[in-house]
Symmetry: C2
Subunit: 442 residues, 2 copies
Amino acid sequence: MESIRTITTGFLGLGNIGAGVWRLIEQTRGEIAAREGVRFSVKRVLVRDTLKRRDVSVPKPILTTDADDVLSDPDITLVVEALGGEQPAADYIRRALISGKSVVTANKLALATHWQELLETACVSGSCLYFEPGVCGAIPVIRAITDSLQANTIERLYGIINGTTNYILSQMSAPYAGQGPAPSAGGLSGQCGVSYADALFEAQRLGLAEPDPTADVEGGDAACKLSILATLAFRAHVPLEGLFRRGITTITPVDVAYGRELGYAIKLLAVAKRVGDKVEARVHPTFVPLSHPLASVNGSLNAVYLYGHACGELMFYGRGAGDAPTASAVVSDMIAAARSGCRGGERAYRMTGTVAMETDWVSRYFIRLQAVDQPGVLGAIAGILGRHGVSIASMRQTTGDGRAPLLFVTHMARESDVRSALGEIDESLAAIENVIYVEEGI
Amino acid sequence: MESIRTITTGFLGLGNIGAGVWRLIEQTRGEIAAREGVRFSVKRVLVRDTLKRRDVSVPKPILTTDADDVLSDPDITLVVEALGGEQPAADYIRRALISGKSVVTANKLALATHWQELLETACVSGSCLYFEPGVCGAIPVIRAITDSLQANTIERLYGIINGTTNYILSQMSAPYAGQGPAPSAGGLSGQCGVSYADALFEAQRLGLAEPDPTADVEGGDAACKLSILATLAFRAHVPLEGLFRRGITTITPVDVAYGRELGYAIKLLAVAKRVGDKVEARVHPTFVPLSHPLASVNGSLNAVYLYGHACGELMFYGRGAGDAPTASAVVSDMIAAARSGCRGGERAYRMTGTVAMETDWVSRYFIRLQAVDQPGVLGAIAGILGRHGVSIASMRQTTGDGRAPLLFVTHMARESDVRSALGEIDESLAAIENVIYVEEGI
């Protein structure tokens, strides 16, 4: 029997995630020592308040409010960063890496906003930065890309990578759960789901959305994860600033219901594709065909679907958040750090510069208008779309009481063309109520 | 820039998989050298016939028909076994491991039937055995269990892990594709899918089933993979001989149609559960609720769904077979072997002995009978089930022309009780046409 190595560890933060990691380490200490030959000894834990009552049995003497007690302790070779927020977390991660410590972080914001600085610091100092828990919680998608798909050219990647918005959109779609596409009827069938506001309120009540839900519902959280996923998938930095982002706040029950009738589920989808030598990367509400496996990812669950030239289609599905799922990923990264001797784990993340972004992409579009109910209006709108090269795949009109709800789904069209066309549709013709991307042939 | 290490490699077999690996290595040589710092130099390739025309550009001089040219060459440190079949593959793997070579195998049969011998050989000699491509092709489920879920107690695991049978059952279910459960009608609606025989014929025509399909359709292939998956998940050997196995050959369009009306999809499901200190492991046709993500895994795709105490539910979905997906997994394992210096990779597979198997499990059952159309028969059958402690959750009867198709779905019942009850139902009451496991609350 070999000896068991002890890895002296420091925690930054003992909130939900930090406490979850502490508990999981305690629970699995014996098994992990036996199977992996490693034991994690937590020497210091940075907290804001050492006197706060906690439901986790961390000995008081190891608590500290001074980050230096973790970052400057030469005994500590592994740091678990679970503070959240961009700063001071990013700064602490950088300092830990500089001093040769390995870092496991669950912090997608600090990572995505300081990606190049942190990765370069790790490379230069020979320390390791692990971040599986930062992207989709327990789902081992980072390790899949870096350790299992190395021989693949990943061509496209789609993710439902924010549990809060997926919960809200699933609630808005709840009346249709378990149903296939509605038979193509003349108009909108009566059934409609709850409003965005009601679904958000419910998510907040359940603790699935923050009191200030902005980072989730406006797509910021998903954008951080997509930047990281796309960077790894395409092996070149896809910077957060280069991502197009639109949130879910404008999605209405009417959009959801019409989409369903057309055979689509609504998802906040993260999309990244190789297009020639460029990459497009965007996060926005998207209609996904009901027959696609991503359409069945409901509630607060996450999934990443990707296509590689050798592996073909792959999907990873599971819990993207929560103390225990995140702790599951943190501990796996701690073991990875221990296995590598806390050295040299950056190879897999070596990038070949920053990628050129394609911002004028091609997609299908769902366009919902409130047209003026007069003869010739439909023809005029169709004419404008046509003149801009936006070809109509299907159209639906319902008339009544002077207002005419009008739906178009386009064929593949260029973003700039759609914008130009919509810019020409003025009040004399219609009010544009919503425009939603449609992702066919995922 | 560090130097690039060359790993001298030998291939056993140059059939579809071997050739696929060769091609993928050729394609990705430059990238993998740059990113991973490793280059695979293939020195010898074992084939049956060196003169055979091949659509892969392997230099003639490295081909050999003598396995010793690979197994006894001290330069070769890594062996890719792609022969298939139990022997001589298992023997070659063992010999390679004994001489300190690492082995990557796509051979679930050799592995499952010689698990303990091969793993022990690797442990004793300090060599490494990798087998991601042997279980679900490109889906990185082995690495997920060994490298990402170490802190989890995996409680149950379900797999659609044979593409051939999933294709056949999907074809038999094709009329219902994209539909939710049918509204609960009085009798069986007219629509029925193709027969098992027709679906098998189509699978054979497409090359998805072998001319002799036994290993796939009788569940043998899935059982090998389940033995490996369950062994890793439960961290104790779950031997192939301990698995219950039933194939799909008795599934009829009528079963598929009735199941659909009850809200189920039919799948050849591999099931493994911890039950106290025992494990149950079985492969059989199973009704899965349509709302479960496994129900949407169609065609020749594979998926593994598992539940861990920390990670919660996780599903991995993708291509379980085919040259390129399998090669994707082989190359990732070759890189893993290279990263580990081709030493010591067995730690993750260390087992704590053989597990005790639970063979008298509890499940729900779908029972289809052809009852004698006489008063009192239904009552007599229900009485027999009741006396054996088998409680009925739902029942459906259609009468006509002297025959009475009768369906029961039971509540959770013990296998031995169901068998005893069915043993008492004789010809004077009904003919038992099919019994199918129902997996609720996956």
